[in-house]
């Protein structure tokens, strides 16, 4: 009995650990300096469902990367607006499921 409860608890924890179900990769033009790019980090982290610890900016590659768990995938148009409001241009957008079996 104890083993069953333990296994059930482990399975629940495992499910909760898979909160972020999509991986987003944004190719952004105009990111020349870290101080300028901070605005993107701030706006991305404010989005519902975003795993704030996953937000990453790679200046030398022109990339903004993050993971999020939302009912529907974030659409390119809304992310383009967010990047533009931050003062930059979204050039390319990629989204991939983190756990393909859940799709």
């Amino acid at each position: 009995m104890r083993q069953c409860i333990f296994m059930a608890a482990l399975m629940m924890l495992s499910f909760m650990a898979q909160a972020a179900d999509r991986h987003y990769e944004l190719h952004v033009d105009g990111m020349a300096c870290p101080y300028c790019a901070y605005g993107i980090e701030k706006k991305i982290k404010a989005l519902d469902g975003v795993d704030t610890s996953s937000v990453e900016i790679k200046l030398n590659d022109g990339l903004v990367i993050f993971e999020a768990d939302t009912p529907e995938p974030m659409d390119q148009a809304s992310l383009k607006t967010l990047i533009n409001d931050s003062g930059f241009t979204l050039r390319q957008f990629q989204v991939q499921p983190i756990n393909p079996k859940q799709e």
Partner: protein, 195 residues
């Protein structure tokens, strides 16, 4: 927050006036790792600075300007032209307007990543073109106007959302009308915190 210190001699340094400024970027062109832009600029300079540079303003001064900038992962360049409209002195004398011209080149020797401290080294050529004005005090007349040009090395150090900008202006060309005070050097430090 900015502090400006001007050097005339050991007895004439002091705190400059506080100010409020705004900028509107009306054009932008983004490419991979670089951004070009143009903006208009407005500023109000309040009459709360230390005295000791002659006539004290009786009211606020205003600054309007146009700027162009290119920022890349390695190279920077800026150019701007601004016009300063000065209030009269507390004794009713005219303070001449000033045209300010700035040409800036900068370099980031090591393109660091987002969470690393970032260093941009800059060299500026700053011109101050002062309108010719005659001030009459009783029977005496004082001629104001002329040009000053400064060579200004500086540094912009940032770490994520915190910036420190420091620089010194060194007078290299002085063509002011006789009797006017000139600045040997100016040093400035600015701290910015992007909330």
């Amino acid at each position: 927050m900015a502090q400006t210190i001007s050097g005339h001699d050991a007895n004439e340094s002091g705190r400059g006036p506080s100010s409020f400024s705004t900028k509107y970027r009306f054009w932008r062109h983004d490419t991979f790792g670089a951004q070009e832009s143009a903006a208009v600029f407005g500023k109000v300079i309040f009459d709360d600075g230390d005295s000791g540079h002659g006539a004290e303003p009786d009211g606020n001064d205003y600054l309007l300007g146009l700027a162009y900038g290119f920022e890349g992962r390695k190279w920077y360049r800026w150019a701007s032209v601004r016009h300063r409209i000065n209030a009269e002195t507390t004794t009713g004398l005219t303070r001449p307007g000033v045209w300010l011209v700035d040409l800036v080149g900068g370099v980031r020797f090591s393109p660091t990543e987002y969470h690393e401290p970032d260093w941009v080294w800059m060299l500026e050529l700053n011109g101050e073109l002062i309108e010719n004005v005659t001030q009459s005090v009783g029977s005496a007349e004082k001629q104001l106007g002329g040009n000053q040009w400064f060579l200004s090395p500086g540094l912009m150090w940032t770490h994520r959302n915190f910036a420190l900008k420091a620089g010194v202006q060194l007078l290299v060309i002085d063509d002011l009308s006789a009797g006017q005070e000139q600045d040997d050097y100016r040093a400035k430090i600015e701290l910015e915190w992007h909330l």
